[in-house]
């Protein structure tokens, strides 16, 4: 083979393999995880992408867990044991997430896992949790399939609005504004697809007679979105629903501004604290943002102190996932204390149906599918010069409380 073809074939193989999903088998376990209890410590594992395109979502979650673990250990630990927190970097890659999750159970004997960033990771992490009967919390990946299909496992808990709840919040805004000629843009993987499906179903459920003018499915982590933006503009929609998030959303926003998209249509997307910090004064004021953990909308002095302490330590404001990670950790601590055990089965039983006290107020984890009964935060992006943080806020807000966005229990039970 000529040299060029050899090299090109090798590179193609390498590049393609980097994006290939792989699931691997492993020896099944029949016993519930009782935790890597070694002497006076017990191990929990955080499975997050802390490099690659999901790092901006992964790191703030790890920071939340580390903060909580430090505070807990400073008070003597849990059931007399210190908590050891291990970080495994999934690199935003589902096959690495799969390997990491098995490593968490088999090597670290994790008492609990705090799951990854993308639903692509979550597919493998939930499978590991189910197979090895080890408790797994998601406070970021949110595909509704994790709690609403036959794959459901009692060891999985969703402390994040799922892909039916979150788009319902956006749909409520669409209904209120009277937008019916719509367009969607969402990343091309299971979360992105599920989010848009959830949104369209929500519109139908709300009785909105919409016309879908088109849909864009850019790759997660795409280097640019100009082709998607020009396609959206060509369709002249009344409003656009954006399932894109993180760095993709920030890039999209900057590019869309140049094309005058915000003067020609309305845009509703997941503008959380991290995105709004990154955008600064480039935030698309007047458009609608939604977030899973809107800590900055709280006026509670304890929440403000928590946010300021985080900012002082990490030099950046918390993300939605810092808040939700804290709430997920609180749920596990509650379960361990209630069960008087680190055993995943006992902890799971203790959490299901329980109301968890947290800094952000109490919330209940529904017994039927282990979905946390939490709201989505949504509102118009507005300047907020008097705020203690330096990014756009939601004002006015829309009501997307749990009772507005919840679904009935699934039928898998």
């Amino acid at each position: 083979m000529i040299v060029k073809e050899k090299v090109a074939a090798g590179v193609l193989g390498t590049l393609l393999s980097a994006g290939t999903l792989a699931g691997c088998g492993a020896t099944p376990s029949t016993t519930s995880s009782s935790g890597g209890s070694t002497g006076g410590t017990v191990t929990i594992v955080s499975l997050r992408g802390t490099s690659g395109p999901t790092a901006s979502l992964g790191v703030p979650g790890n920071n939340a867990l580390q903060t909580e673990v430090n505070a807990l250990n400073a008070k003597g630990g849990l059931l007399g044991k210190k908590i050891k927190l291990v970080f495994l970097n999934t690199q935003g890659s589902p096959n690495i997430a799969s390997t990491d999750a098995r490593q968490a159970v088999l090597s670290y004997h994790a008492a609990a896992m705090f799951g990854g960033v993308s639903s692509g990771d979550g597919v493998y992490e939930e499978a590991v949790a189910k197979k090895y009967k080890t408790i797994l919390f998601s406070y970021t990946f949110s595909d509704a399939v994790f709690t609403r299909t036959s794959d459901f496992t009692p060891y999985f808990f969703s402390v994040v609005p799922n892909t039916n709840m979150e788009p319902m919040a956006a749909a409520l805004a669409f209904k209120k504004e009277g937008w019916t000629r719509i367009y969607t843009i969402s990343p091309n993987y299971n979360y992105g697809r599920a989010e848009v499906t959830g949104f369209l179903n929500a519109l139908t459920k709300l009785g909105v007679h919409y016309t879908l003018l088109g849909q864009q499915w850019p790759a997660l982590g795409a280097s640019n979105f100009t082709s998607n933006i020009s396609a959206i503009l060509a369709a002249h929609p009344q409003a656009v629903y954006g399932g894109i998030f993180g760095t993709d959303l920030v890039t999209f926003t900057k590019e869309a501004e140049g094309y005058g998209l915000y003067n020609k249509t309305h845009f509703v997307a997941q503008y959380g604290a991290i995105d709004l910090q990154a955008l600064g004064n480039s935030a698309p004021y007047g458009e609608i943002g939604y977030a899973r953990g809107g800590w900055w909308t709280f006026n509670n002095p304890k929440v403000i102190a928590w946010a300021k302490a985080y900012h002082a330590k990490y030099g950046t404001w918390p993300s939605s996932f810092t808040m939700l990670g804290t709430m997920a950790f609180d749920a596990w601590v509650y379960g361990v204390k209630t069960a008087h055990s680190f055993d995943s089965t006992k902890v799971s039983q203790a959490i299901a149906g329980a109301t968890i006290p947290t800094l952000f107020g109490p919330y209940t984890i529904r017994g039927c599918d282990h979905q946390a009964e939490i709201p989505e935060y949504i509102g118009v992006l507005s300047k907020n010069p008097g705020a203690y943080y330096n990014f756009a806020t939601y004002s006015p807000t829309f009501n997307a409380s749990w009772d507005k966005i919840e679904q009935g229990c699934p039928t898998h039970q």
Binding site: K4, T14, L15, G92, T226, S227, G258, I274
Partner: protein, 293 residues
């Protein structure tokens, strides 16, 4: 489709092509000269973008300040390219090509982690240069002034590369290396130094692409891999080793992305790979690639 919309689609595709060409031309230049597929090329792009974010604040926020910032950023990355070539690649030229590939892949991972450690996980969003912001209206259609600038600048880079390759001694030697690098050795040319120059120019172009687009994107972890894949596709479509081919490849891929998003939105992500497959079936060495490699 109205004429205005068509114009936006074309200009949007060409603005994509502009960055892809600048980055891919560096990759194809390195491959043509050294027969190395440089997987750190995306890292150089990423560093260019990060350095622009840092240096732009030190210049005025207009076009000249932006020019100063992206030149400085690109030169710094070119210097890093020299270090990489000297410390790593120079020891691997006698080995298998796969070894070079793996070494640069490993370096890409190291650089990715380094960027994360230095700049953190949060994204950086450099401001757009004031005199290049705004929208250019053509009838009912509008396109960002910045993208028109990118298209014009890519054309300038193409001309500059042509001049460098055809009117300078080093450029002629680089072209000669593309044609027959073994012959160069036999006539006494310091091929190692030539390789260093080629790699530095390649790194410069990658960083230039990153620095140029930085004001329009969120600069953060992961931008290295996405551009690496796209620029590799462009280089393959154009013909590995051929800068003129990189122009054609970039335009083809840019337009495929732009029109693919409009007409085949469900498959637009695969549009560039579809183009690559078709080109490779019809012409396995790429549009302007040569047979003799």
């Amino acid at each position: 489709m109205s004429a205005g919309t068509l114009l936006v689609e074309v200009l949007s595709g060409l603005s994509l092509a502009a960055i892809l060409f600048i980055v891919a031309s560096g990759m194809t230049l390195v491959f043509g000269t050294m027969r190395v597929i440089n997987m750190t090329h995306g890292s150089f792009y990423m560093f260019g973008a990060y350095l622009l974010a840092i240096t732009f604040h030190r210049f005025d926020q207009h076009a000249f300040g932006f020019a100063g910032a992206f030149v400085v950023s690109s030169l710094l990355v070119a210097a890093l390219g020299v270090v990489v070539e000297f410390v790593v690649l120079r020891r691997l030229y006698q080995g298998e090509h796969l070894l070079q590939l793996l070494a640069t892949w490993a370096l890409m991972l190291v650089f990715g982690q380094l960027a994360l450690d230095v700049w953190g996980s949060a994204t950086v969003t450099p401001p757009s240069p004031a005199s290049l912001s705004g929208t250019l209206s053509v009838g009912a259609a509008s396109i960002p002034v910045f993208y028109v600038f990118l298209i014009a600048f890519a054309a300038f880079i193409f001309v500059a590369l042509w001049f460098f390759n055809n009117r300078t001694g080093v450029g002629r030697l680089l072209r000669a290396a593309v044609e027959d690098h073994e012959l160069l050795t036999t006539i006494g040319v310091n091929v190692r130094r030539l390789y260093t120059v080629a790699f530095a120019v390649g790194a410069f172009l990658a960083a230039l692409g990153g620095a140029l687009i930085a004001p329009e994107i969120s600069v953060g972890p992961g931008i290295d891999l996405s551009i690496l894949v796209e620029s590799f596709v462009v280089a393959v479509v154009g013909g590995l080793g051929n800068v003129n081919g990189a122009v054609l490849g970039a335009i083809l891929i840019g337009l495929a992305q732009s029109f693919g998003a409009t007409y085949f939105p469900n498959m637009s992500e695969a549009a560039i790979y579809f183009v690559m497959v078709v080109v490779l079936i019809v012409r396995p060495r790429g549009l302007l690639g040569k047979e003799e490699f």
